[in-house]
Symmetry: C3
Subunit: 159 residues, 3 copies
């Protein structure tokens, strides 16, 4: 398997890059999961936003009552947007960080803490846990991305 | 042209990577188009959200009436957010997938189906088409990204 | 430092890639700053969206009055979403552009103008400046990304 990959590119043979690929795939899949949870709540709570989505419930006024907001749906959507706001910087800065030559153990520490923090953040948002549970898990992930950005700027700086 | 690029990096000489670059540029441009469609509907429907955007329509109450939501504007904005939620994972996971050494034909199949599905999704959202048109085009793109993530995790797995 | 990085990968030794890494880290950090500004306005304006966030203000009705929207909070959130809509394409297309072998001076021109335009856009949104200040800064960043996409498609085209 290694041989076949070396033909196409050597990046994936780099251990730090493989760790980056693993954790990035995991956090992006976790973010994608939010779409399924939103769909689950929209269907079970019967709370839709597009008229064409309620057509199967009948016509006119009978379907119109399902065009409404639901607190659970809105909560998942906020969690999803928070993922976008935080996982996008991780993916972008993390790639540059992985290419900036960090020690494997240091890189793994960054990737593992970020991934754990974002999984905790999702549970804290959806259960929901009392504050500062969600706030702290957000701050931990944010700090990890900030730490990687510092290493990237120290290594690559060319303005 | 090839020679000049080989000097700077060899990644772009890899055919799978060139395919990734082509389809990623296309879906990101498609996503950027949503901003222009939003602006078009805001201006033609006279539906704005920032007071400073309505200043050219006059002062005080006469301008204030244009601070309102419009169904068409909101529809484009939902399509734009759905693009962010789905195209961001494609761009991130697709890059790792392109570096994981897939067959060119398999990679092209993934990239083409995803790009086609997202273009269909936009038409299904904006026309709008009856369901399950939009739902199916969303699910196809989602599944392609999931399939690429599976290949990335199988190839790179280092936790 | 250079030697150590060359062992792990040669990408970061490429000057265009170093410039990309520097400006990408800067614009992503700028985008992350929007989270802090949102938190600042939520706390100073006492305007929250999650019931668990107002628990420290007391129980029942006394805390419930802080579950409200505030114009300043909503303005920062719109600026944050606009960042996502514009910085995500820059990061994705910019990476492919950096790997497509542009002249360093041309690449720096693109990265600098985009970064400057997005910083101006944030000031124009938050102060707020009269239009077309925000509109123009948005259009400049948009055009830079479009110009990079053109170069990527010209170089990599493989459909």
């Amino acid at each position: 398997r290694r041989g076949e990959m070396a033909k196409s590119t050597q990046l994936i043979d780099n251990e730090v890059f493989r760790a980056y690929a693993t954790y990035t795939a995991i956090v992006l899949l976790k973010m994608m999961l939010m779409s399924l949870i939103t769909a689950y709540f929209r269907i079970t709570r019967k709370a839709f936003v597009n008229p064409e989505d309620t057509a199967s419930f009948g016509k006119g006024e009978s379907a119109k009552k399902y065009l409404r907001t639901d607190p659970d749906v809105e909560r998942v959507r906020r969690g999803h947007l928070n993922d976008l706001e935080n996982i996008v910087p991780f993916v972008g800065i993390g790639l540059l960080y992985a290419l900036s030559g960090p020690e494997l153990s240091t890189a793994l520490l960054h990737f593992r803490i970020f991934t754990g923090a974002r999984i905790l953040h999702t549970f804290a948002y959806l259960i929901p846990l009392p504050q500062p549970g969600r706030g702290l898990s957000w701050a931990v992930g944010y700090s990890v991305t900030f730490s990687m950005a510092y290493k990237v700027l120290k290594t690559a700086w060319l303005l």
